[in-house]
Structure formats: structure tokens, C-alpha cells
């Protein structure tokens, strides 16, 4: 496993849209090897200048460009901590602990049987699916993305997803793609998938997990339980599992196969 490390990263670019923002961070310190990063892993961001924010914020990795020494984070402003992070400007430093957590499981590179992968995301929660799709593409699979949002405006930027795979959209108000929830999209009826990955709001992931279980399709989800340390020391972010009781989402997750969890599905 790649060694975890703590370092300052420089903001190369910040792009804002509504209450979300994309950070392109570069690891400038040449003495620090650029980490091997797996899809589904996350970083812990130190928040400065906020009296009410004491702990780091766990943020999933949206994309990685090792040749540029860049990690991209796509973040929804949900409270004071993320609001402070959103105030950073190009050239500022952000202190990260990374890479953290397990990863989405990828098929073996030499497995040549055709496989169809569906990556279902809700809102900005879709963030880690871009890097997952990219890694699937690199080993020869073209993934399908099914992204849902309340309205057209709530998608951050769908172009990177279109570059990596096929893109299907749903919106609750019908302003883009198919009207309704991701689990109502017609592609679920017309195509047969071998594997589903999902990340987004918990009710959406539960609906996806229910669908996957009904269709007997293997499914992995990424959880975002409230965390303190992010490295398995404090035991605050636990999730109940079938075989191992309470486990830390930060180290045993954030990615779980739905069969591991005691969700009401």
C-alpha cells in the first residue's frame, strides 16, 4: 500500500459554479514522490481561518494527473469548513493528508471478456467516479456514466465524463436528460450491466443498491460518514457490516460492496 503522507499542495486553479468548486492542486515539493492513487480514495484537507472548524475535511479524489503532479478535488459547499476551503485562490497552499482509504475494485487487466460498467452518481457526489471511469478506460473498458441532479444547473461540468465514457443524465425537474431519478433511467432497462459503482446522496445510493440487488448485479458504493482522523485511529466514522461488526469507513472503506453492509435494502 502507498505510504500516507502529509504535505502542502499549491492551488493551480479553482473553478466555482453555484455552491460547488473544483480545485486543481499540484504537489510542488520534488522531494515528495507523487503518490500512487487509487480510484475511490480520499484526502483530508486542513481548514484554516475558521473558529468553528477544528477537524480536517475528508474529500474524495475527483481526478489525478501524475505527469503534472496534480490531484483534482470537486467539492460541494455544505458548511463552514468547505466554505473556507472555497475561499482559497490560485497560488495558495492547502495541507493534505493522502492517499487515504481503500478503492473501487477494478477488473484484472488481462480479463478480456467484454464487461459493461455503470457508474451512477448524484450531484457533486459523482466526483470520484470520473477517476474510476478513467482507470476503467485505461484498461480497455468504456464505462457508462449515469448522473442525476435536481436540475440542469446542478451538474458541475459534464464534459470530463463525456471524454471518458458514455454519459446519461437524469434531472428531477426534467431540464436535462431523462426526467426523474437515476433509478428510473431507461438505460437500466435496455442494457445489461456486469458491475455498478455508485456515489452520491445516501437515499440515491440505497435506491441503486436495491436495484442492483434485485437484478443480481455486483455493486460497490462509497460512503461519507463523518470522520475525525481519517486514518483508523479514532473509530468515529464506523459503519455496521455483516461479518466484521463496526468498521472504520476511513480505512476499511470508503468503498464497500453492498453485500458487506447492513443497510435496510
Amino acid at each position: 500500500m502507498t505510504k500516507k503522507f502529509i504535505a502542502d499542495w499549491t492551488v493551480r486553479e479553482i473553478i466555482r459554479k453555484n455552491d460547488a468548486f473544483l480545485l486543481r492542486l499540484v504537489l510542488e515539493d520534488e522531494n515528495q514522490a507523487f503518490p500512487e492513487t487509487l480510484p475511490g480514495q480520499f484526502v483530508q484537507v486542513l481548514v484554516k481561518n475558521s473558529a468553528s472548524t477544528y477537524l480536517r475535511r475528508p474529500i474524495s479524489i475527483h481526478f489525478v494527473e501524475p505527469e503534472k503532479r496534480e490531484i483534482h478535488l470537486l467539492i460541494q459547499i455544505t458548511g463552514e469548513g468547505t466554505r473556507q476551503i472555497a475561499k482559497t485562490a490560485t497560488g495558495d497552499k492547502l495541507n493534505l493528508i493522502c492517499p487515504l482509504g481503500n478503492s473501487f475494485s477494478l477488473p484484472e487487466r488481462n480479463d478480456k471478456s467484454p464487461k459493461f460498467f455503470l457508474l451512477i452518481g448524484g450531484g457533486v457526489g459523482a466526483a470520484p467516479l470520473l477517476y474510476l471511469g478513467h482507470r476503467l478506460r485505461k484498461i480497455g473498458y468504456v464505462p457508462d456514466f449515469l448522473l442525476g441532479a435536481y436540475s440542469k444547473e446542478n451538474f458541475f461540468d459534464n464534459r470530463p465524463f463525456e471524454t471518458v465514457g458514455n454519459l446519461f443524465l437524469t434531472t428531477e425537474d426534467g431540464s436535462a436528460g431523462s426526467k426523474g431519478y437515476v433509478t428510473n433511467h431507461p438505460v437500466l432497462e435496455t442494457k445489461t450491466y456486469d458491475f455498478i459503482y455508485t456515489c452520491g446522496p445516501r437515499p440515491m445510493m440505497q435506491a441503486v443498491a436495491q436495484y442492483a440487488r434485485k437484478k443480481n448485479i455486483p455493486c460497490e458504493i462509497s460512503l461519507e460518514n463523518t470522520m475525525a482522523c481519517g486514518i483508523g485511529a479514532c473509530l468515529c466514522c464506523v459503519e455496521k457490516t455483516v461479518y466484521k461488526g463496526n468498521v472504520c469507513v476511513c480505512t476499511e472503506g470508503p468503498v464497500f460492496n453492498i453485500n458487506e453492509l447492513l443497510w435496510l435494502i
Binding site: I6, Y54, I97, M227, A228, I231, G232, V238, E239
Partner: protein, 302 residues
């Protein structure tokens, strides 16, 4: 380069910087970030006789300059520790100490007795101050009589260094400290977390599954410092100070207040390397003040 070594009873520590139980796992969680052998010591996760699943999620609520937790002593029990964890950590070149908790006096005794057999565990920290378990825990630490009983019983079965971790959720912490000193404790460590609470106003319900939890982090430092100062004046045994220590300056304050050693807890979550910075900072402070040993700093306020 000052002399940083301190003693608790007959046990020698290479420096006074220890890591607090429940914030440092079994040490190995931090091995990517720091050289564990540089620490004065590590208190590993609270261990009980039988495995405990802990409390339901949510177990944590962030506060201004701190956090509430209600983990509830999740651990796999002392036998699992002895068979699976101890072999992995016993050769770390520092004092590895086990925080022991229980629901009954007998639980504490049996657990301590089993750890007594472990060659590379030179001390236990008896946790009579956990606010997050229904039975035992803090109940033993909030009455001088109950605290004295459990310490007396463990003292009969445990013959290495016995440290007793005290609760701040009492009227007079010095009374409890004196009671456990009288029963043979080699040191007291304080403070454990302060009982607190948080409410989610949108959902109109408590944030923590257990309603109340233990407050830790920078916000509790002044309270902890005051209690360490009071206790150091009330007992003859060494005091290990903790509560919100986040920098070397904080650590020096606790030592000046009378602590022989200090524990770093919640600050490890924000900066996993903070303990190293505290060691270096104390060293540089002593050099700057021309003090040749940290022992001369203990309790040295006018």
C-alpha cells in the same frame, strides 16, 4: 540538547511526550507519518476483558476548537490484543502502555492480570473515567470510594507501573487523586474528556447516538491545565497531564503546572506529526532557557 528523560515510579521515559489512548490506535496507524520510537510512550486504545462493539453511529460531533465523541470503548477484547496486536507492536522502541477499562471490578482485575504477563508492556493506565459506557467506566471515577476500591483491587493483581486516568466530571478531582494514591497508584493521568452535548437544530435531535459524549481538543485546555495544577499540589505521585495539548507551548504549560509527562490526544487527528513537533519544541525551549533537564521544569512556576 537538554536531558528530556523523566520517570514515573520506576519506569523511565526518554521524553515526557506520550500519546493519549483512543486517539492513537495501536501506534502503527501513525507509522507512515512519524518515527514512533521517538515518542516517550504510547497509550494504546482502551482495552476491556471482552470485545465491545461500541456505540452506534453517529459517534462524533465537531465543536468550536474541539470535538465530542461517543465511541464507547470499541475494541476486540484483551485476548485478541494479546494474540494479534501485541506481537505487532511489542518491538517498537518506546513504552507501550495499555489503557484498561471495565464494567466491574473483576473485569478490571482479570484484564490487568493478563496484561501483567506481557513482557513489553511496562504499565497500564486504568481508565475509570470513560463517559461513554453505560456501566462502569466513569462511575468508578466519580466517587472517591469507588475509585479507591477498583485501584486497590487491581493493585493486588498488577505489579508493574499503575497509572490511573481521572475524570474531570467531578466536584473535586484532587479528592479522587488522593484516594487512588492511597491505594497504591504510581501516577495519575488527567483529564479524560468533559461530558458535553450537541443538538442538530434542523432535525431537532441530539447529534450523538448516545445524546451526550466526551469533549476533547484545544477548547478544554484551560480546564485541564487548572486541574493538573490543583492535582500536582495535592498528591506526591507523578501527574501526567493532558487535555487539548496541541503545541509545544501547551506542553510546557502543563509541565510548569506540575505534570511530569504529557499526553497528546485529539491534536493527533489534525496533525499526525504534532508529537514530534512538541518534543523538538520542548527541547529548544529548554536550550533557550539554559535549563539542562526537563525534570527541573516540572511544577516550576512562581
Amino acid at each position: 540538547m537538554a536531558d528530556l528523560a523523566v520517570n514515573i515510579g520506576t519506569l523511565n521515559f526518554k521524553n515526557p511526550v506520550l500519546t493519549a489512548s483512543g486517539t492513537f490506535g495501536y501506534g502503527v496507524e501513525y507509522s507512515d507519518f512519524i518515527d514512533l520510537s521517538r515518542l516517550g510512550g504510547i497509550f494504546v486504545k482502551g482495552t476491556t476483558l471482552n470485545a465491545r462493539e461500541g456505540n452506534d453511529y453517529p459517534r462524533m460531533a465537531e465543536t468550536s476548537s474541539g470535538m465530542l465523541n461517543a465511541v464507547g470503548l470499541q475494541n476486540k477484547g484483551v485476548q485478541y490484543f494479546i494474540s494479534n496486536i501485541y506481537p505487532e507492536i511489542k518491538n517498537i522502541d518506546t513504552n507501550i502502555m495499555v489503557n484498561v477499562s471495565g464494567s466491574t471490578i473483576e473485569d478490571y482485575c482479570v484484564c490487568a492480570e493478563q496484561i501483567n504477563e506481557l513482557e513489553k508492556i511496562p504499565a497500564i493506565e486504568l481508565n475509570i473515567s470513560c463517559p461513554n459506557v453505560k456501566q462502569g467506566g466513569m462511575a468508578f471515577g466519580t466517587s472517591a470510594k469507588a475509585a479507591a476500591e477498583v485501584v486497590a483491587a487491581v493493585r493486588r493483581t498488577y505489579n508493574k507501573t499503575l497509572i490511573v486516568k481521572l475524570s474531570p466530571n467531578v466536584t473535586d478531582i484532587t479528592e479522587i487523586a488522593r484516594a487512588v494514591e492511597a491505594e497504591g497508584a504510581d501516577a495519575v493521568s488527567l483529564i479524560n474528556t468533559l461530558m458535553g452535548m450537541a443538538i442538530d437544530i434542523e432535525r431537532r435531535r441530539p447529534v450523538l447516538s448516545t445524546v451526550t459524549g466526551g469533549l476533547s481538543g484545544a477548547c478544554i485546555k484551560p480546564v485541564a491545565l487548572r486541574m493538573v495544577w490543583q492535582t500536582a499540589r495535592a498528591v506526591k505521585i507523578p501527574v501526567i497531564g493532558m487535555g487539548g495539548i496541541s503545541s509545544w507551548q501547551d506542553a510546557v504549560e502543563f509541565i510548569l503546572a506540575g505534570a511530569t509527562a504529557i499526553e497528546i490526544g485529539t491534536a493527533n487527528f489534525i496533525d499526525p506529526t504534532v508529537s514530534m513537533k512538541v518534543i523538538d519544541g520542548i527541547d529548544e525551549y529548554l536550550d533557550r532557557k539554559n535549563i539542562d533537564s526537563v525534570r527541573k521544569l516540572i511544577g516550576s512556576i512562581d
